[in-house]
Subunit: 454 residues, 2 copies
């Protein structure tokens, strides 16, 4: 009986639903607006430099467009002056490195392509009115195909991709314009000059108002990644050997932080590529060894893979009984804690660009603890235990020394980088038990850092 | 005595070095040329579609520029026709998805910005000759700042970054041109039309001549990643339990292949973003669940982290003696091999878009082997062994069952994806021992795959 509905009911169904949908629209709209507002606020709070960047770009574009309104730019270049405005839009990026890289790519590619395009146009005109389009088309085809193929070379792709595109673009613009306009040389010159002006305007705003140095970001990010691994290792001991039944919230976030390290490769590579365009600034001199950051980053990731393996034993189905785990608790916690201290020390001195030996001392302490652990394992302390239940704890005990090996490699790479980048060296008695005091009492053998503006 | 050199010697030193350097130049030049030629050949051989792409871009640009030479385009649009040529240069990307994404971004952003820009210009002219620049500058500043900030939203960045840039660009172009030219509406219309023509030309060439579908690449890459893990697991047993002393070359490459899976996250995300722009094609229907590929990819990476842990035991300093390892050889190899077969089966049926149950059967077999391994471990077969030496083999024995868990999760995600993407289902008795035959004899419950051309 209930299945039968009157035609009225059927036809009113969609109308009622429609009305309900219309009624819910303002609510939905409000919810969506609130959500966007919340996200916007979070984006701004996470990194206030984003807001500054948006204002900077607005300022740069407005300035150049006003320049177009008032006489000087327009009088010299006419309509081509618009290229200056467009260049500012296209070149303004978040960091100095990205802006400089894009700007240089654009200026140099325009220069070369404008020259080649003018040459191609002249060569084409020599062959008469009929031969011209054939020759220009041939040139355009060859240049476009070769340059497009070159964009596949990994090195070219990483640093000159934008330049390659602008090269084809300008070459086509200049040589093809020759069909309709004989003042090709004038056009090429105007295009180059206006693009140069646009790039300069963009760079001045980018560097002079709260500059964002991508090299500094890379430096901090590499140090932060070490810190994340250190946080895990610090919390791991308490969590695995469960001091209190409920683990505290702080530990939980510490234990998850390392996961972002696993997938940080591509962002580090992008940052290193941009950083190489940056002039010396602050503590980062000219020809700072940005490539070596990638090595440190890779080793940190290798360590993160081990940490990932360690993490799997926290949540594994088969767990070694607490009383058996308790037997290796002291040396295991000691290794994990010393590793954490070594990484923290490295992260902090790396961030401050100081070379100390205190990380090495923590590594040595952790090795001693690892030896203790090894000899403890040799005493057959688990004789009566079930082998299957024992394996997880044994695996943890074998993973920890491997992590020491990883940290040692990171430490070597950091020292190598420190030598190449002339980090300061700290003098003084280094007390391995008080890592914080070292950093503060470090007397730096100052090495003059020259700030090169361009 | 040897330290003393005559002034002649001193001055001739640099000259000799200079001569030597000059002499070595042709050789260096030859070497460099040969190296570039070699790299170029390798790039082409690795993926011949790259050569085709370069020729396609050359063709598209040449065609549109000839269009500019002959009357139709130039007569309707005048100098603005150049925008069509530039659009082809800027929009032509390797894959259909990337080209379509960039093209749509460009066309839509131009449409909206041109309309807004014209509106802003009209509003500004209402305020008289003096108020105009102030109003236009204010509009430009606000639009540029807001749009630049919006580019930081992760979702916007992933899919609409280019559109946002073109939006600012066109808005500035149209509204700022108003300073000098009153025919703003005409300009906005011309810009939109020429960009539309350029995008269409670029898309026609991209889709009609040997199209590269990024969705297909993503599909193959996810399957290939599973295959790489399978290769490792296949070779692992022989390598760890060293059947022959010298491991063969094939195994070596098999054991290293999985490493690229660890860092595949960002490239998969890029591909998935592009793939979502693509129309249905071949077996990939409209609204193919590209996002679910990322889930499968993430689970494959989680499995790769375990494999990385397993790999570390191949080269670890402390090794369990061969005779002890020998005791767990049979079940360990069996687990590893069944896991490998399950992954291979999944990779192959995934690639062919068929849902089979044979992978599940291999997983079940591997679970049985894992149970055998577990009961073997419970027999205290290593009673007399040294615990420290025993740990690596025990860890391997505990890691293998975890890998089964990972593979099970991958299998579930693949099935989920298969349901959502309507993979064909194979009917017939599935013989777990002959994975190849399954695939060939599979009778597909055909599900109509509609090839949508656009």
């Amino acid at each position: 009986m209930e299945a039968m509905t009157s035609p009225q009911q059927v036809s009113s169904g969609p109308i009622i639903r429609g009305c309900q949908w219309l009624k819910s629209l303002p609510n939905k709209f409000c919810d969506k607006t609130m959500e966007i507002a919340r996200k916007t606020k979070k984006l701004g709070q996470d990194d206030p430099r984003r807001i500054v960047h948006a204002l900077k770009v607005g300022l740069a574009i407005t300035l150049v467009s006003l320049f177009y309104y008032f006489e000087p730019l327009y009088d010299s270049f006419g309509d081509s002056a618009m290229w200056a405005v467009l260049t500012v839009v296209l070149v303004s990026e978040f960091s100095v490195g990205a802006t400089l890289g894009k700007g240089l790519n654009r200026v140099l590619a325009t220069l070369v392509a404008a020259a080649l395009g003018t040459g191609a146009h002249h060569l084409a005109t020599l062959s008469g009115r009929k031969g011209e389009p054939i020759l220009v088309a041939t040139f355009v085809f060859i240049i476009a195909a070769i340059t497009t193929f070159m964009r596949f070379f990994p090195k070219v792709k990483a640093r000159y991709d934008y330049g390659m595109m602008i090269f084809i673009l300008t070459f086509c613009l200049v040589s093809v314009s020759g069909y309709r306009d004989d003042q090709v040389l004038k056009m090429a010159r105007e295009r180059f000059s206006t693009i140069l002006i646009g790039c300069c305007a963009s760079l001045i705003v980018c560097i002079c108002i709260f500059p964002v140095w991508v090299g500094e970001d890379l430096h901090k990010s590499v140090a932060a990644n070490m810190g994340k691994l250190a946080n895990f290792l610090e919390a791991f001991g308490d969590e695995y050997f469960k001091v209190s039944e409920e683990s505290n919230e702080n530990n939980k976030s510490y234990l998850q932080g390392y996961r972002s390290v696993l997938t940080s490769k591509s962002s580090e590579e992008t940052m290193a590529n941009f950083a190489r365009w940056e002039p010396g600034h602050g503590p980062f001199g000219y020809r700072h060894p940005w490539k070596m950051y990638l090595k440190v980053g890779n080793l940190t990731r290798d360590c993160a893979y081990k940490v990932e393996a360690l993490n799997s034993y926290l949540n594994s189905k088969i767990q070694t009984p607490a009383e058996i785990r308790g037997k290796i608790q002291v040396p295991c916690k000691s290794v994990s804690l010393e590793c954490s201290r070594a990484l923290k020390e490295m992260a902090s001195t790396f961030r401050n660009m100081i070379l100390t030996t205190s990380a090495v001392m923590h590594i040595e302490s952790s090795k001693i603890a690892a030896e203790e652990l090894k000899s403890l394992l040799k005493t057959n302390l688990w004789e009566e235990a079930d082998l299957v239940e024992m394996i997880p704890a044994a695996s943890v005990a074998s993973l920890l020394p491997e992590i020491i090996g990883c940290i040692e490699k990171i430490s070597e790479a950091v020292n190598e980088l420190g030598e190449a980048a002339s980090f300061r060296k700290s003098i003084g008695t280094v007390l391995p038990e008080q890592p914080d005091s070292i950093q503060h009492t470090a007397i730096s053998v100052s090495h003059c850092v020259v700030i090169v503006a361009e």
